[in-house]
Each structure stands twice: as structure tokens, then as C-alpha cells.
């Protein structure tokens, strides 16, 4: 019995969520009273493995192969399949990153298991783990219990565990050479790129007014523009608004857009799906305006108005002008 935490790196840089996953895995292994091992895959990752070994764990497996230099779903699945078979851990933990979403379900399938993905909390019920996931885009929570023998596969949501609780230690680095060959890898990746230099840097904004589906129509965008003007704020949006072309993609806040932490973030007609929340929950003061009192955005808000934004916003603009004059 052991816990295995799979950390993520790209081009020699750690994915920041790796440390959150490691902190969670340390706590979980301690609660289960079983050893914790770490693993990271890539090509030429000796220095990263050595850095991971300064954390409290048993072993750090450097899963090394020239074919792991570039991420592919086939390569990563085959490599970690070998490691999981060799270690037979009770639980395998991943950060819930785009990469994990791409290969971890495939890896779990090799063991006839379903990945328990995007987990926000965990507890032990006796010796048996229970994981909490969000359903209906955060409106409900579910307790999910892995059934039967391990290994069980679990990915952890960004920000659900804190990296600053990480315990230092001295782990032993061991190289694991997975048996990969070119014929196993069907995806041919090209170099990652960005669409264009960002003309709008939302990360520098002190105040942001952000708009979501509640605005209903492109014609209504001026309603929130007026609010942004009154506040001296940048205008931003949740993904569906940018998908629809109502505002440019570069104004998107969330996991696929920008991550912001302004002094004031005012979310208008945004329900607060987790993909949006991860991009803005670091804001100092969060205000939500939404007609649905159960919208998940109110979970992270400091202040909220429950009501029709088309009535609330004009009233708000008037009050702000009064307060700032």
C-alpha cells in the first residue's frame, strides 16, 4: 500500500499545481499511514527530480525517456502504466491540469478504473477514502467512493489544496526507464504557440467588470461598458461571451484565459463555473450580481446583489457616479 503523486513539468518548469497535489498527497498518505512516492516524466529531468526530492516523500521516480521530451497522451499513458504496475499504489494523485485531463482517463482505463477527476476535498471514512467532486458546474457537490481494489486514480482541482503546507524532507531519486518505442505514439505534436501578443493585460488592472451569459445578447454589452466606465475598470468576460464573439478572446478570464487578482472584481451575470473561478478567486474584493441566489459565484463573493442585472446595473452606475463625484 502506498500513495503515488504524479507531478507535472513542461520544458523543465514545474506546473505550479504540482505542489498543491504533493501537499495533498502528503496529508493523505499520513492519514492512511502509508508511504508516499512521487513521479515526474520527461527527458533530461534529473535536476527537477532532485528538486522534488527536497520534499517529504519516500522515493522520487524520474520517469525518463527521450520519447517523453514532448508530451503525448500515448507516451505518458504507456510510461505511467509501467510505473503504476511496478509500484501498485492504492491511490494515484494528479493535479487536474489540461494535460492530466488528456491522459489520466486513458491510464485509469488500462487498470479498469475510472479517474475521479477535479476533486475539491477528500476524507477518510475509516480506512476508506471518500472524494468530493462538483456536479452541475459547481451547483451541487457529490461524495464519490472508489470501490474495490486499488489502484484508484484521483485528480485535484486547482487551489483546492494549499502548496504552503508542503513538508520538506529528503527523498531518494530513482530513475524509471519505461519501455517506450516510437510505434506506440500516434500523436505528432507541434510546438505550442500563443495566438497573438495580448493587447489587453487584465492582470495589471486594479478594477475589473466581468460579464457572463446573463447579459443575454451582444446588443446589451453597452450596459456593462457603462458600469466599467463609471468604475474606471477594465471590461472582461467569462468564456461563453468570448466564444460567441461578443467580446474579444483576449478579455477572457478563467482557466483558458487570463488569471487576474485585481482590488475589485465585479462579476455580472456570471454563474461561476469552476473554469471561471480559478481565474479570479484571488481578487481582493469580489462582487457578484446574479438573478440566481444559488449561483456558485456567490460562494466566492464578498458582496452580492440578487436581481435582474438590467435593473441593477443602471442603478449601480448612478450610485457610483454619485459616490465618486
Amino acid at each position: 500500500m502506498s500513495v503515488l503523486a504524479i507531478l507535472e513539468q513542461q520544458g523543465g518548469q514545474w506546473h505550479r499545481m504540482s505542489w498543491e497535489t504533493l501537499a495533498a498527497a502528503q496529508q493523505f498518505a499520513a492519514a492512511l499511514k502509508v508511504p508516499l512516492n512521487l513521479a515526474v516524466a520527461g527527458s533530461g529531468i534529473g535536476a527537477l527530480a532532485a528538486e522534488a526530492a527536497t520534499k517529504s516523500a519516500g522515493k522520487v521516480y524520474a520517469v525518463e525517456h527521450p520519447l517523453l521530451g514532448e508530451y503525448t497522451a500515448d507516451g505518458y499513458t504507456a510510461a505511467f502504466e509501467g510505473l503504476v504496475q511496478a509500484l501498485n499504489p492504492a491511490i494515484v494523485m494528479f493535479p487536474h491540469t489540461y494535460r492530466t485531463r488528456d491522459f489520466a482517463p486513458k491510464l485509469a482505463t488500462r487498470f479498469s478504473r475510472t479517474l475521479i477527476g477535479d476533486v475539491v476535498a477528500a476524507r477518510l471514512d475509516g480506512a476508506s477514502p471518500v472524494f468530493v467532486r462538483q456536479l452541475f458546474q459547481g451547483k451541487l457537490s457529490a461524495d464519490v467512493r472508489p470501490d474495490g481494489e486499488g489502484p484508484h486514480f484521483v485528480s485535484l482541482q486547482a487551489g483546492a489544496w494549499r502548496a504552503d503546507t508542503l513538508e520538506s524532507g529528503a527523498a531518494v531519486v530513482e530513475t524509471f526507464a519505461p519501455p517506450l518505442d516510437v510505434a506506440m505514439i500516434r500523436q505528432q505534436p507541434e510546438a505550442p504557440f500563443r495566438e497573438s501578443a495580448r493587447a489587453v493585460d487584465l492582470t495589471a488592472a486594479e478594477r475589473i467588470v466581468s460579464v457572463g451569459r446573463g447579459i443575454k445578447d451582444k446588443e446589451n454589452i453597452p450596459v456593462v461598458e457603462a458600469l466599467a466606465r463609471a468604475l474606471g475598470a477594465e471590461l472582461a468576460a467569462s468564456r461563453p461571451i468570448c466564444d460567441a464573439g461578443w467580446l474579444p478572446m483576449e478579455r477572457q478570464v478563467g482557466s483558458s484565459g487570463q488569471t487576474v487578482s485585481p482590488k475589485l472584481y465585479l462579476a455580472v451575470g456570471i454563474s461561476g463555473a469552476i473554469q471561471h473561478l480559478v481565474g479570479m478567486k484571488g481578487a481582493k474584493t469580489i462582487v457578484a450580481i446574479n438573478k440566481d441566489p444559488h449561483a456558485p459565484i456567490f460562494e466566492v463573493a464578498d458582496y452580492g446583489i440578487v436581481g435582474d442585472l438590467f435593473e441593477v446595473i443602471p442603478a449601480l452606475v448612478e450610485q457610483i457616479k454619485k459616490a465618486r463625484s
Binding site: 475521479i116 460562494e299 446583489i305
Partner: protein, 261 residues
């Protein structure tokens, strides 16, 4: 080319959700009897992408949907938008299965169809596991790519644009047949035309069960034990009622308590 699109029917966005109070699934799912349903949003984009690929390359678009009887409505709507035919895998209580069980069901039907390309949305709006396409690909022995924003078929290969984090993208080539999970916003959704709705009535919907497909779905390895409203971690100060009063109260707080205006 033959494209199969796997779609799911989910409760209408912004439906009021109540946890099931009684019966076999008490406390483990939501009350469905008073809800309306629609196509899962990312699946609508997957369907649109399939229709556009067919317009470009010719061939056939087959809709595959696992779900209870009520899913027939969503299937009809997909046919009205232009899909050629459909397969309805009649299965009650999808949420009782785990992703592996659902993917076993879908992949049994997919294997029989022998498609060149399989598209599905990157995740469902209800369970949100975001895995069904990837797991089906593994069961079928096909390569996959996830969170796709562009699809170009190049002979026996497909070149796709994958979304990465923080505004990054990447192109990937993979051999056909392959499974792609489609991101919302990849294209512009079409509406069904009156003619399309009329034509859909004559299109074939094949109804199959797990037994018809000769498969056993297996025991779930991850079981939903309890569904509930999330505990509040932060207590927002909420202003309700008359918009003018609420706005004045909020501005007061923002100015004198939060000091942000």
C-alpha cells in the same frame, strides 16, 4: 467520411436543482421529473463540427446518444440540424454507471459502426467528468486528442488545434480513425430549419440496449454516494429587493468598508 458524434442530454442550463428525496436514488441524484432537458453544450459544438466536416468532405454524420427514453427529443433535434441517422442506446440512470461503464456502452456501438472520426464534447454539464471520449478511444484502440478548437482532415490524418492552459495552443496530427473531444466555441452553431425538422421525422433512429450489444457494463469503480448543496466557505453580504436601494447599499460598502472606489 463517416463521422459519429456522441451526444448527451442534460438538464436545461439554470434549471432549479433539487436532490432526490425518496426512492432508490434518494440523496444520490437530482429530481428529474420536473426538469426540461437539452443537448449538452459542448456536444452541440461537436455536432456542428461534424456537420461542417461533412459539408466539406462528404460522407455521413451519425448521432450516438446513451440515455433514457426522454433523450429521443434531443436526438430528433440533432437529426433536424442535419445528422443523417441516429443510434439511441436506451439506458436509464446513466449516473449510476461510472465513466468506464458509459464508455463501454458507447464503444460497443462505435465499434460496430467503424467510423473514420468520432467527435464528442469535452465534458458534460451535469457530471462534468470530461473523460468519456478519452476512455472510449482507449477501449476502441484509437488515438485521441482533447479540448479541440480546430479540425482539419488531411487524407488519412487529422490535424487539430488543441487548447492548452493560459491562452496557449498546440497543433497535433493523428492518424484516422481517431476520437476528438471538442471545446465549446470552436464554431458557430446552426439552428434547425423548418425543412430540417420535417426531414428529421423520416430519419432512422436505431434503438439498442446493452443486452442487444452483448456487453456487460461491469461494476462501477467510483460510486456517487451522496449529492448535496456545497457548504459555504465564505459568507457574502447579499443585498436584495429594490435595485436602487441594493445598489446604494453596495456602493456604500465598496467605498467605506472595502475601500475600492
Amino acid at each position: 467520411m463517416k463521422i459519429v458524434v456522441a451526444i448527451k442530454q442534460v438538464p436545461l442550463r439554470d434549471s432549479p436543482l433539487r436532490v432526490t428525496a425518496s426512492g432508490q436514488r434518494a440523496g444520490r441524484w437530482i429530481e428529474e421529473s420536473d426538469l426540461s432537458f437539452e443537448i449538452n453544450e459542448p456536444d452541440a459544438y461537436a455536432l456542428e463540427e461534424a456537420l461542417q466536416l461533412k459539408e466539406k468532405h462528404g460522407g455521413e454524420v451519425v448521432v450516438l446518444c446513451a440515455g433514457p427514453q426522454r433523450a429521443a427529443q434531443t436526438i430528433r433535434e440533432a437529426l433536424a440540424k442535419g445528422a443523417d441517422r441516429a443510434i439511441h442506446l436506451e439506458q436509464d440512470d446513466l449516473a449510476e454507471l461510472d465513466t468506464l461503464g458509459v464508455a463501454r456502452l458507447l464503444s460497443a456501438a462505435l465499434a460496430a459502426e467503424k467510423p473514420d472520426l468520432i467527435l464528442t464534447g469535452l465534458q458534460s454539464d451535469d457530471l462534468g467528468a470530461g473523460q468519456t471520449g478519452v476512455v472510449a478511444a482507449e477501449l476502441l484502440g484509437m488515438p485521441h486528442a482533447t479540448i479541440i478548437m480546430q479540425v482539419d482532415v488531411e487524407g488519412a490524418m487529422v490535424r487539430v488545434k488543441r487548447e492548452l492552459e493560459d491562452g496557449w495552443f498546440q497543433h497535433i496530427r493523428l492518424p484516422l480513425p481517431a476520437v476528438l473531444t471538442i471545446q465549446s466555441g470552436i464554431n458557430k452553431l446552426r439552428y434547425a430549419t423548418l425543412m430540417g425538422i420535417k426531414r428529421a421525422k423520416a430519419k432512422e433512429i436505431k434503438r439498442l440496449t446493452a443486452t442487444d450489444l452483448g456487453i456487460s457494463l461491469g461494476a462501477a469503480s467510483a460510486v456517487i454516494e451522496k449529492v448535496y448543496s456545497p457548504a459555504k466557505t465564505k459568507q457574502a453580504q447579499i443585498f436584495e429587493g429594490d435595485p436602487k436601494t441594493a445598489a446604494a447599499q453596495l456602493v456604500e460598502k465598496l467605498k467605506f468598508e472595502a475601500h475600492v472606489i
